[in-house]
Amino acid sequence: MRVVVVGNGMVGSRFVEDLRARAPQAEITVVGAEEYEPYNRVLLSEVVAGAVGVASITLPTSDVDGVRVLRGTSATALDRTRRVLVLDSGEELPYDHLVLATGARARIPSVPGLERLPAGVHPLRSLDDAREIVAATVNTRRALVLGGGVLGLEVACGLRRRGLAVTLVHGGPHVMDRQLGDGAGAAALAGLTRLGIEQRTGVVAAEVHVSTFGTAATWGAPDGATADVATTDTGAVSRRVTGVRLTDGSTVAADLLILTAGTVPDVDLAERAGLEVRRGVVVDADLTTADRAVHAIGDCAEPPEGGTGLIAQGWEQSRRLAAVLAGADAPTSSPLGGTDVVRLKAHGLDVVAMGAPVAGARTVTLSDPAAGRHVEVSVADGAVVAVACVGAPEVGADLTTAYTRATPVPADPAQLLLRPVRGAATTAEPSPTLMPDRATVCRCNGVTKGDIVRCWEHGARSTDDVARATRATTGCGGCTEAVCGLVDWLAKASPDPSAGAPHSRTANGAQPASTSPAAVTLSEPVPSGSGTAQRRVPSSRS
């Protein structure tokens, strides 16, 4: 089986790995436009933020025995009749199966000034983009991020982390409006504000101002002037962004403009080959086009359920297609819950969103604007079907696993709004006085407070006595302090002169040593600050 993969990115390279695992005999050729080995595109915003190094985002190489990798090579045509892929080198690659994993390009808004990207203007789609942005941050001060989706927020927070003044411009009513409703959006805005990121929502760029030769040629000039510069630009002239005029007429100065206005699937090759293309290359549930020898996965594909642009979907498609091509039944164990989890990787702002409320869903909300927290959970048929969670990362983590695994939700879904995992696990340890009689003091030997009290009643007067009689403290020794505390407390509360410890009658005259354990526990509060009260007792497992 000859398999040609177009695209050596996150999904293309993963597909090679998946197919080799299932069909080691397949002859695989991978064609990648970039010179680089496959890398983790998801982490480019982390590179921009300075959180991870460029070297650490390289993914496992496809360049292994049995795989031919052509890097820095573009496919120019797909001849489906002859079943060959034509390369820019002129070479033709015959195939039995052709897999399109060409990904997506950054969408460049059609705004005057961006006909040709001036210096200081970058999309963030490739390693080169990330490198250029990082280099640019060294001598820029004001950044404008155009587009407040996931990537826009990550970049805005990342640049802020690098100390730049950042303005985030978003056409929708609030950031991430595809994923977040008003309440969650407001919490996200509050979070961004706390980080010192200026936001302009409900407006888009009307024009990008560009200077030439260091002069702000279009600063405040009529639109036509900008267009002039742009169209007459030969590419040799230095043009540099200086700011952006927004649709409300205001202008924001910026010497770095990042375009995060979404992506466009890379479908040129498929289109020219006459394959059906809507937003992406149309494929069926088996990731196959109308031409059974041609497949598409990742961002360039448009499966029946629609493309999410999330890597999880691309990797799932890779696994599935590998199984299909290997002749195995496609994996039937499709995930129980949803896979469309959108998790922001922004420094200082936690947002996670997933799913969509369905008819009949029950939605519960925790709204805590002052703390920048908003949790909204929809439940249907006993499972979580949608989540918007801002500023509550631990709750978000729990909700994610509940959603992706469709685990049973609590009888009252409002329980999901706080941390259900740990619940009320940590309660304050009781003092010897308040500790119930059946509370375990020494776990290693299963000794309860009641056992120690009884031991005292039988004449034990020191920790050693108690240890000999009950074996408390003789395991790991972790309860030694607690046992000392109990002995001290019993000594103080005891009227028995043979106790050998300084003591007096308790205020109410109770005689704990001879009373029932239950009475003892009620007899006397431990003096606070005595040190005894500070001692901890392992919690009971009863």
């Binding site: 696993t401 009888a411 995992v421 395991g475 790991c476």
Partner: protein, 727 residues
């Protein structure tokens, strides 16, 4: 406790092998029917402490139903008392007949990690020399196989802790992955006091276990992943260490190979993805990695306490157990820990002789000294010691679960000899195991008490236990310890060394199976010479002398050596002297959640019981403290199911159903229930567990499977209670 006169030995149970002294019974001992008084003895591992199991261990010596006569199943199918000669003849005749009819492979052997080194060695030799069957494996396959495979491929050697346990006590950070020390070897937690005081204890466990609770109140960090996703957490920790430039690059360059592949493989495991898979918040993954890296750096530069990464069964009993161990080792290597005094990676061995038991030939692919049975040089050496032609030694057999699956099948073994293991309680998918054992023509079980497995046997042979025998055990830190006899066995009880000697003689091998443990050990030492686990410098006499002089002897200990408390200080025993980093990936459990099984089941232990409970369930104090199996579930899940604490719940997996009492506790995750596995019967956890195994180690996935949980009894409302997820 004062160390008076008495017999200095070690606890019969776990791999911590707490030192104890046995003396003539005092009043307290007599009151509970114990023939000796047990006292903890000061020792580097247990520091004089014992848990409740250790304190009460002498009562097992006089268990009311202690086996003291051989039993043979008669024509009516009943087990009847028999003489030793009669019983051994039945075994020998059966073996001869089945091997004549079906070939040598018709007889298989199943050993245990609780056997002394001497018995484990003799058992392996018996299988290879007398039975000449490849089919021998042992319950250590359920216990240490993944840790062993991971350590072997990284370091070229598998010694649970390659450093003394006391090093843990001096560390500034300790990571415990899937280990519940506070229940499984309680005295060992004494070593965690200092690290907790520094906030340096990291526990990765889906439950807020007693051990995880040690991280509370500033003791450290508890990472509580979805069951079966510990590997993703480790990959995330590695991602942060490598991605944020926190790794010890000098160490990686000088002492490892494979770092680049690992670096690339974890590029795909950024913390937010780890969070989605495991439920551990991304920020907690980052904080943990940074804390570990910072402490490793301080240890390196300023000589502060080291960093120790430890794994336990929680992560190893998994279909990706070896991969998880590799990831833990990779993390340790990235932080520059292995071989640095005070730091390192280790696996916490479970069973009493789980270490020694895996070194001297009980494993299907192994010869004494941790040699490979498919290595011609190893075969030649061992055959020379055994006085046989190397060509007569069988080749590798199959790992435990595969062996059990084939028992009594047309192509599988027809007879099985079981030593030191209660298979029908402790093996996964226990109902199937019971079926396979029933299908055998001959099942021979050596045991102390009538365990559940003996009840299926054709022949039961009563054997000695700890305080009745001499021998050696190798503890979790690779230290060889002397087990000493404090009292004679009850009349009618024999050592397995006697059993093997007598059977060998009946099967035509009259020599080569001495019954004196010291003599067996000397042969073991010769057979191990030049192997990875080299004991050739050891003997009972030397161990006794060293102990009297307060010296510890850790293997490898070739002739003339003073032992090796710390491995890897100069190099790793790999061909190039470097540790090998192996890139691994997370796939998740084999038996993952389904619509009709939407809850995870985790299995594990409780403090009061050991393994299948055959010993500890017979001690009244332990049985009273933990009388019955239970199902631990979170209050939210209990509420959803309509179950109150103490009520019965029914847990059903694809393999079987168990019913046990509900223990409602917030220490569980709401998406997972927990059951201890020490019981048989309707509450037996292993009726539910999956026999899916790790592809490298053959270790079964005890720790996670998918189940349905519902209320039974009064509160049952039938199918309406089932948690079917409709999407």
């Amino acid at each position: 406790m004062p160390a008076g006169p008495g017999t200095r030995t070690h606890c019969p149970y776990c791999a911590l092998q707490c030192a104890m002294t046995l003396s003539p019974p005092d009043d307290d001992a007599r009151a509970v029917g114990a023939p000796v008084t047990v006292a903890g003895r000061d020792f580097p591992t247990n520091r004089g402490g014992l848990c409740q199991k250790g304190w009460t261990s002498a009562q097992v010596l006089r268990a009311p139903d202690r086996l003291t006569t051989p039993l043979v199943r008669d024509a009516d199918g009943e087990l009847r008392p028999a003489s030793w000669d009669e019983a051994l003849d039945v075994v020998a005749d059966g073996v001869r007949r089945l091997q004549a009819e079906h070939g040598r492979e018709a007889v298989a052997v199943f050993g245990g990690g609780g056997l002394t080194n001497e018995k484990a060695y003799a058992l392996g030799k018996f299988a290879r020399v007398v039975l000449r069957t490849p089919f021998i494996d042992y319950n250590g396959r359920f216990c240490m196989a993944s840790a062993a495979a991971g350590a072997n491929r990284a370091f070229g050697i598998d010694r649970g802790l390659p450093f003394p346990l006391a090093d843990v006590g001096a560390a500034s950070a300790v990571v415990l992955l899937g280990s519940n020390l506070a229940e499984t070897m309680p005295p060992s937690t004494a070593h965690l006091g200092d690290v907790r005081a520094q906030g340096g204890l990291v526990v990765v466990d889906p439950r807020h276990s007693a051990t995880a609770a040690l991280t509370d109140d500033g003791g450290g960090l508890h990472l509580q992943p979805v069951p079966g996703t510990d590997l993703a957490v480790l990959l995330g920790l590695l991602h942060v260490v490598l991605g944020e430039g926190l790794a010890d690059e000098e160490y990686l360059a000088a002492r490892t190979t494979g770092a680049d592949e690992v670096r690339r493989s974890v590029a795909a495991w950024w913390p937010e993805r780890v969070e989605q898979v495991s439920g551990v918040p991304a920020d907690l993954v980052r904080r943990t990695a940074r804390m570990l890296a910072a402490r490793a750096a301080l240890s390196r530069r300023e000589g502060r306490g080291g960093v120790v990464v430890l794994t336990g069964r929680g992560v190893e009993q998994s279909s990706q157990g070896t991969a998880t161990v590799s990831a833990a080792i990779n993390l340790a290597l990235a932080l520059g820990l292995p071989g640095r005094p005070g730091s390192g990676y280790g696996a916490i061995t479970g069973q009493g002789n789980g270490q020694g038991g895996r070194e001297h030939g009980q494993k299907s692919d192994q010869l004494p000294g941790y040699r490979r049975i498919d290595d011609p040089a190893a075969r030649a050496h061992v055959a020379r010691v055994w006085g046989v032609d190397p060509d007569t030694l069988p080749g590798p057999g199959v790992p435990a679960v595969e062996l059990l699956r084939h028992l009594g099948t047309p192509a599988g073994p027809r007879a099985l000899l079981v030593h030191g293991c209660n298979l029908v309680v402790s093996a996964p998918d226990a109902d199937r195991v019971r079926e396979r054992l029933r299908a055998l023509d001959l099942l021979v079980v050596c045991d102390l008490v009538p365990s559940e497995t003996t009840r299926l046997a054709h022949v039961v042979l009563p054997v000695t236990q700890w305080a009745e025998e001499e021998g050696t055990m190798t503890s979790l830190e690779g230290r060889v310890l002397r087990r000493r006899r404090a009292l004679p066995p009850p009349p009618g009880v024999r050592s397995e060394l006697d059993v093997l000697h007598d059977l060998a003689a009946r099967l035509g091998v009259p020599t080569g199976f001495p019954t004196d443990p010291a003599e067996v050990f000397d042969e073991l030492a010769r057979a191990s010479a030049g192997g990875v686990a080299d004991y050739s410098g050891l003997s009972h006499a030397r161990l006794d002398a060293a102990e009297a002089a307060g010296q510890a002897l850790h293997w490898p200990c070739p002739e003339g050596s003073a032992g090796t408390p710390r491995l890897f200080t100069e190099s790793f025993p790999t061909p190039d002297g470097r540790a090998r980093m192996v890139a691994v990936d997370h796939h998740g459990p084999a038996d993952d959640l389904r619509r009709d099984a939407p809850i995870y089941l985790i299995t594990g232990r409780v403090l009061q019981h050991y393994q299948s409970g055959a010993q500890t369930r017979r001690v009244p104090a332990l049985a009273t403290a933990q009388p019955e199996p239970y199902v631990e579930l979170h209050p939210l899940l209990a509420d959803r199911l309509g179950v109150s604490d103490g009520e019965l719940v029914e847990v059903t997996s694809a393999r079987g159903t168990a019913v046990a009492a509900a223990h409602v506790t917030p220490s569980a995750r709401p998406d997972a229930v927990f059951m201890p596995f020490h019981w048989s019967g309707e509450g037996s956890a292993n009726r539910l567990t999956s026999d899916a195994t790790d592809p490298v180690s053959g270790m079964p996935e005890f720790k996670v499977c998918a189940v349905q949980v519902r209320a039974v009894g009064e509160t049952s409302r039938g199918a309406a209670d089932e948690l079917e997820v409709v999407r």
